[in-house]
Symmetry: C2
Subunit: 210 residues, 2 copies
Amino acid sequence: MRMAELSAESGVPVATVKYYLREGLLFPGERTSPNQARYSAAHVQRLRLVKALTEVGGLPLASVGAVLAAIDGDATPHETMGVVQQELAGPPPKVSGEAAEWAAGLLHELALRHGWKWHGMEDYTVGNLVAALATAKELGHEKLAERLDEYFALAMRVAELDVEVVTGLTSFDKIIEAGLVATVLGDRIFTGLRHLAQEFVSREVLNRAP
Amino acid sequence: MRMAELSAESGVPVATVKYYLREGLLFPGERTSPNQARYSAAHVQRLRLVKALTEVGGLPLASVGAVLAAIDGDATPHETMGVVQQELAGPPPKVSGEAAEWAAGLLHELALRHGWKWHGMEDYTVGNLVAALATAKELGHEKLAERLDEYFALAMRVAELDVEVVTGLTSFDKIIEAGLVATVLGDRIFTGLRHLAQEFVSREVLNRAP
């Protein structure tokens, strides 16, 4: 298909498609004349993916580039998902002092208890978790942390479901893409469901007048 | 305490404290002379809360203002949490067409099946969920949606835990603040735990070379 059709099919404006081509977020089409190229269904899918990552996932374009480079590389699906997670988490806010040490200790113990690999504070996922837990403590709301084991047990069940959804697919390319979709959209979807569930569960308890 | 001490205690720079005072994000101190005021522990806590919402929660200042106005108002905890959820979700990206209709239908059925109130597409939580599900379908990864009931069942268990943590507190003011903390930080914490769990669960399955 031509550029105009690619744009219509993917819902991405022509100027944006050209920008993505220049930035390397979209691979070039097959050249048919000095200033024309032919694009395929793979181009449509890639544009939809970029749109999903930016519009629904809220990722900045630089992170989208890093994620796509990981997808296109020859890393294993597991390594690729590692890159995706780091980009999604982003660099954590700085925390230090007693609360930060307490939070790091708590999480390290959790890791030891469950036998997962401890990546240390340089890992963005770990760093952001520590920042959130330390902030809760500083606010005097560390009760959340007392139930961390229960939250983690539920997170494990969600992750098992995620992996089941993703590995039901046959090709490795599809699995990596599905892993990306499951992570980026899956985070949004689960958070939304949790909010709906919170409203449902708390209606009785929290609806008394103050 | 004086302004300098308030700044040191909360970790928020003096210029930022003054800006928050002007913007109404922080209530004024008790005036002790024409250009001096005395601040209390409540001011420190409020500044820590603003910091948590912006730095860890990633909320823009306008949303922080709306959330604090809701907290300070005389709505029930349940209504207050409704405002918090809308601000956290933000306006959804525009989706339309077949995929959007499919996603809205799916979610509406889920609501009917579980007996929760259907707020319709104007609700930001619902709108964002529909956008994420529709995007997954457009990308050909609607398998996620086939397991929506299972995801929702787990979200219900997380929400039950959330409400338990929050309602263990005695005063209504504390409950509202804890609800805010549990939602803003709780979303970050659960997403982080899910990512760690995904890595743990998928190590075996996804670590084969492509």
